[in-house]
């Protein structure tokens, strides 16, 4: 079976994630879109692993999952602090630092 559909799907998912990061305002949703980008990369890694016939890509996918989990811990902590301080998780409201 051809690998192309899988790579195309991963590219579409990655693009949805990237566009989401750039357009959404809620920090949690922005963060979810980043996770979508990471998972799109995982799909590409696993597909290429199958194409290349070695396991490097699948192992990398595991590492990406672990890193994504660590990122959630740090990221949600930061977003929670911001939300408790400002009563808002909108990335547009946090605009004290500019120019």
């Amino acid at each position: 079976m051809s690998a192309t559909p899988f790579i195309v799907l991963s590219a579409i998912l990655f693009t949805i994630g990237a566009v989401g990061v750039l357009t959404r305002r809620n920090a949690i949703v922005v963060f979810m879109c980043v996770e979508l980008m990471l998972n799109a990369s995982n799909l590409a890694l696993v597909t290429f692993s199958r194409v290349n016939g070695n396991l490097d890509g699948q192992i990398a996918a595991f590492f990406v999952m672990v890193v994504a989990a660590a990122e959630v811990v740090v990221g949600l902590a930061i977003i929670m602090t911001i939300f408790r301080t400002r009563r808002s998780a909108s990335v547009d409201d946090a605009s004290l630092l500019k120019y």
């Binding site: 790579i7 991963s10 990655f14 994630g17 990237a18 990061v21 920090a27 922005v30 963060f31 980043v34 980008m37 990471l38 799109a40 990369s41 590409a44 890694l45 597909t47 290429f48 692993s49 194409v51 290349n52 070695n54 490097d56 890509g57 192992i59 990398a60 590492f63 990406v64 890193v67 660590a70 990122e71 740090v74 990221g75 902590a77 930061i78 977003i79 602090t81 911001i82 408790r84 301080t85 400002r86 990335v91 946090a94 605009s95 004290l96 630092l97 500019k98 120019y99």
Partner: protein
């Protein structure tokens, strides 16, 4: 039944990384088991001892390479091909570790805030609430900043030594995640600090998403994560060219974000301004070294063979970075923000040296290679910027650090010493002769010229002139303007910050007067192994 071969780890060569990460884990245990009163002392001593031990082992590994002898070993690929311990990696290690020791001293400064660290007493207490006031009257402090910083240092050591894409990604995250947290922990101006942390985190996660997709594409092209295999595949150009070019572009997004190069620089001013100044100093000095080390290795080792494809991209990025950094710095009114834009401009100058890539047989004996020039500039800039940010922490008013430029008016009358040292560091950043900034700029420009990147060098020289204007503007402000109102006051720091400032100024002066020894050394270690 298949036999199982245990992976072979060369513990001697990787010991600096293991020591730093091990001490960081110990630091977490200290938080759990040592009573609150003693934690500060234990953490500081532990962090310093760990970093010094890592410096000693790095020097031992370095001497093992025998760089001075007739037949120096170029290095060793260790840990089943995950890490390459060679000249540039070891130089980056030593530089990062020395900068980290100085940063620990800055982190540990308690004198300026009246007996507590300059980090939030209790990060979970909301700003302006009873809980925050209570935390400050009880003198609480987060000594977790020391283990967090050591984890970041561990990632920084792995980053320039990583010899495959997966290790590089893990190192990138290990160095970034603690930094995101440290940025949000300022004691004063906590809203700014939290905002900086959120911006840094969201943009950092976004850029590492690109980095991972780039890994996937290059893996699809080469069929392997290892740099040596990728280089092999690039030479024989086996796979589809589109995958490779897309992969290179996306990997460079991730790395150029970390070094703060335009157009991926937008986070730099916000984060440098909002983060606690000690953290800003650490980021500006050490993160740049790690990220440039990784950028050099990735592009020179893995993608060196098709450099005609990616050097035009770096030309554009380098020019854009220098112009954006220098021009926007002209309009800044906050000293930390101005230094942030100056760091963007410096990233552009270093990228100019990065363009000095040539194939090995083109390099005439004794001439500066791109690697040596970049590492030399990183050394000069690291110490200068660390001392400059350390000086920013001592100029204060009732609300903490007085970072607005108008508050610096007439500082020369209030404290000639602080104003004089700061002026000297600004002149070094501008690249005035007899300072390390001049020799650094000369090194990167020479390397870029010999590789034929003269248009970039012309822009770089012009932008140095623009940059000199805004550095001199601050000096004029400090010495030739009358103070507004009461003017700024200079708090005498403890010996910790004093040491950082003294070392930074001394290295800036020394590398300006006698750069020869370091350049000779770099000429011998500036070759990557594959």
């Amino acid at each position: 039944m298949n036999g199982f071969d245990a992976p072979k780890i060369e513990y001697f060569q990787v010991s600096p990384i293991l020591i730093v990460l091990g001490v960081a884990v110990l630091g977490v245990l200290v938080e759990a088991f040592v009573p609150r009163r003693r934690r500060y002392g234990v953490q500081v001593v532990l962090a310093l001892l760990g970093l010094l031990a890592a410096i000693v082992t790095s020097v031992m590994v370095f001497l093992d390479l025998n760089p001075g002898s007739d037949s120096p070993k170029s290095g060793k690929v260790v840990a089943e091909g995950a890490l390459a311990v060679d000249g540039p990696a070891l130089f980056c290690w030593l530089l990062i570790l020395v900068l980290a020791v100085l940063s620990v001293l800055l982190f540990a400064e308690r004198h300026l805030e009246g007996g507590v660290l300059s980090f939030a007493g209790q990060a979970a207490a909301l700003p302006g609430t009873e809980a925050e006031r209570e935390a400050s009257t009880r003198g609480l402090e987060h000594t977790e900043v020391f283990p967090l910083m050591l984890f970041a240092v561990g990632g920084m050591l792995m980053f320039p030594a990583s010899n495959d894409l997966l290790t590089m990604f893990v190192a990138l995250e290990v160095l970034s995640l603690p930094l995101y947290l440290l940025c949000g922990l300022a004691r004063r101006r906590r809203l700014l600090s939290q905002e900086a942390a959120m911006k840094y985190f969201l943009l950092g996660a976004f850029s590492s998403g690109f980095f991972v997709y780039g890994i996937a594409l290059v893996y699809g092209y080469a069929g392997s994560m290892g740099f040596a295999e990728i280089a092999q595949a690039v030479v024989s150009s086996t796979g589809s060219e589109g995958l490779l070019l897309g992969g290179i572009a996306m990997l460079s997004v991730g790395l150029l974000f970390k070094i703060g190069a335009a157009p991926f620089h937008a986070w730099t001013p916000d984060v440098y301004q909002g983060a606690p100044t000690a953290v800003t100093a650490f980021m500006a000095a050490a993160t740049k070294v790690a990220a440039f080390g990784a950028l050099l290795r990735l592009f020179y080792v893995a993608f060196g063979a098709n450099r005609t494809d990616w050097t035009p991209m770096i030309w554009v990025v380098a020019i854009l970075t220098m112009v954006v950094g220098s021009v926007l710095a002209l309009t800044q009114t906050d000293i930390k923000r101005m230094l942030a834009y100056s760091s963007i401009a410096h990233a552009g100058f270093i990228l100019t040296g990065f363009l000095g890539i040539r194939s090995l047989n083109e390099v005439a004996g004794g001439s500066l290679t791109g690697v040596s020039a970049v590492l030399f500039y990183l050394t000069t800039y690291g110490f200068t910027t660390l001392a400059a940010f350390a000086l920013v922490t001592v100029v204060r008013d009732a609300g903490g650090e007085a970072t607005h430029l108008s508050r610096w008016q007439g500082l020369g009358k209030e404290s000639p010493l602080v104003a004089g040292l700061f002026a000297f560091l600004l002149l070094a950043m501008a690249g005035i002769p007899l300072t390390s900034g001049f020799t650094g700029k000369w090194a990167v420009f020479a390397a870029a010229m010999s590789a034929g990147a003269w248009p970039v060098v012309v822009v770089a020289v012009l932008m140095s002139a623009v940059a000199a204007y805004f550095y001199v503007r601050v000096i004029v402000l400090m010495f030739f303007a009358e103070p507004i109102g009461e003017g700024p006051s200079v708090t005498t720091p403890s010996v910790l910050t004093g040491t950082v400032i003294a070392v930074g100024v001394a290295v800036t002066l020394l590398l300006g007067l006698v750069p020869g020894a370091l350049i000779d050394l770099l000429g011998r270690v500036g070759v990557f192994i594959r």
